[in-house]
């Protein structure tokens, strides 16, 4: 009999997952953050050109409709916030097409929470507290907080806010990463992705939680643009041992700006001949009616488990990875 029916992780890991889930629920219960569930299936989907989604067909004879599997519960949770839910969290499955590798499985578990009235620095404190709790037996070093610009300059000598094609090219050549010039062309955001992935991220959070904040405006996603400096956004990313764990924002609440970013991303998708996405007008309407000032963050639970168990691959923490699902 072929052993391919077996789980890809050990029973010990299944227990660790259950323990972490219980601790997370306790953490939020202690802080009166409400657990919620939102749909996995939706009529609309994130428009981010960098995220590929799954579609499925809803058949209610004689009608057939395309539905999307969520890439994140963000939109639905913001609609709850706008409806007056107060601070909320969710632990649920999300789906990203085409993502498979040592740190990626197309279906994975996300912990996402929103704190009404929190600024980004306040949320960063809570993130550090939560990680500190989960990793209490792992003797992590003190949490590091560093701005994107600061860490980028200190590790590469390049200013991420000022796109100098000449300097960027000279830097990657000096590092032996000649292919970057062809890959990135004159796209500032792509250059930042390339250099950050290769030359910054691997060095972040050596046995410590590293919180990188103040992302350049061209990498703003759903964060607010900083009031002090419009080149920066109120976005934070979490790293431990060079592994990206999560991403948080001081949430964009401006309906017009949200709608503009959706349309811009839809245009990029069309230009790049990507699958057509359907923007979430209900989110725009929710923002229109009023999203309370809040900060939110999403953390990949499977990667947390990888770090807690020193696993080299995500499949070692999943009951059944995509290849054996």
């Amino acid at each position: 009999m072929s052993p391919d029916w077996r789980p890809t992780c050990t029973i010990e890991l299944i227990r660790l997952r259950a323990k972490v889930l219980a601790e997370l629920r306790q953490f939020f219960a202690d802080r009166s953050v409400l657990e919620v569930e939102t749909p996995v299936l939706s009529h609309s989907i994130g428009t981010d050109p960098q995220l590929e989604f799954f579609t499925t067909e809803y058949c209610l004879s004689p009608r057939r409709q395309t539905l999307f599997l969520q890439t994140s519960p963000e939109f639905a949770m913001k609609r709850l916030l706008a409806a007056g839910s107060g601070s909320i969290y969710q632990i649920g499955k999300v789906f990203r097409n085409g993502e498979s590798g040592r740190f990626h499985n197309p279906e994975f578990t996300l912990l996402e929470w929103y704190r009404v009235g929190f600024t980004l620095p306040q949320l960063m404190d809570e993130i550090a507290e939560l990680i500190g709790n989960l990793f209490r037996d792992r003797s992590l070093q003190e949490t590091q907080r560093v701005s994107y610009r600061e860490i980028f300059i200190s590790l590469t000598g390049l200013d991420p806010l000022v796109f100098s094609y000449q300097d960027y090219c000279a830097y990657v050549r000096q590092c032996g990463l000649f292919e970057a010039v062809d890959i990135c062309g004159h796209d500032h955001g792509l250059w930042l992705d390339f250099i950050f992935s290769h030359k910054v991220q691997p060095y972040l959070g050596d046995n410590a939680l590293c919180l990188v904040y103040g992302y350049p405006a061209c990498q703003s996603s759903l964060a607010r643009v900083s009031e002090q400096n419009n080149q920066l956004t109120e976005r934070v990313e979490l790293f431990i041992n060079g592994i990206e764990l999560g991403n948080g924002y001081y949430e964009l609440a401006d309906a017009k700006e949200q709608n503009r970013r959706f349309d811009q991303e839809l245009a990029v998708r069309q230009h790049q001949k990507l699958v057509v996405a359907v923007k979430d007008n209900r989110l725009v309407n929710a923002l229109e009616s009023g999203l309370p000032d809040c900060s939110g963050v999403a953390i990949g639970l499977d990667r947390l488990l990888m770090l807690l168990s020193d696993s080299a691959s995500i499949k070692e923490v999943l009951s059944f990875s995509i290849h054996s699902a």
Partner: protein, 189 residues
């Protein structure tokens, strides 16, 4: 030849990179939560043997390389070329010494080895992991010394030089690990 997308890159796949045939050793999918996906690939140039790292944008593709490994019998060295034959078809191939490289010192007439062909031309020769070769030259050893400590150099029939224990004598057949170039044992004929 088919082309392969980054999603199909896996260990062992043979592709063309910078006009040279290469073998993929490792492919790591790298993607920031909000950002461009890349494939960071470790790849061996099959001509030079050098291993390099190269990053591709996810979805890029490379042309496949027509590279195959064929078991052949080593026939002889005519001074300019080494000659090999596929036992089943009697098809013969010849290669220059520079293609044979370091492997040449383990090749004994009639032995079987692996010939890597690129577009039907030999690209590299791999000897078997273990070969049995006779000693043609070595200092007389001390009989009865089986400790194996120390050792001495010995020249083998193919010209290779390996360190052998003191008790091993000229004319004896020994087994050598070609990956490390180390003596394994004596062989009883």
């Amino acid at each position: 030849m088919a082309s392969y997308s980054t999603n199909e890159f896996k260990a062992g796949l043979k592709v063309m990179l910078d006009n040279d045939p290469c073998a993929i050793i490792e492919n790591e999918f790298v993607k920031p939560g909000k950002g461009q996906a890349f494939s960071r690939v470790k790849i061996r140039n099959l001509k030079t043997g050098r291993v390099i790292e190269r990053t591709f944008k996810s979805g890029e593709s490379l042309e496949g390389a027509d590279v195959v490994d064929v078991e052949m019998q080593y026939l002889y060295n005519d001074g300019q070329f080494r000659h090999f034959m596929v036992p089943d078809t009697f098809e013969q191939y010849q290669t220059e010494e520079k293609v044979v490289g370091d492997s040449g010192k383990w090749l004994k007439d009639q032995d079987t080895c692996t010939v890597t062909l690129w577009n039907d031309v030999p690209l590299a020769i791999s000897p078997p992991n273990f070969v049995d070769l006779a000693i043609t030259e070595t200092d007389p050893g001390v009989r009865g010394d089986t400790s194996g400590g120390g050792g001495k150099p010995a020249v083998l029939e193919t010209g290779a030089v390996v360190r052998v224990p003191l008790f091993v004598q000229i004319g004896e057949l020994i087994k050598v690990d070609t990956r490390t170039g180390e003596y394994v044992s004596r062989v009883k004929e």
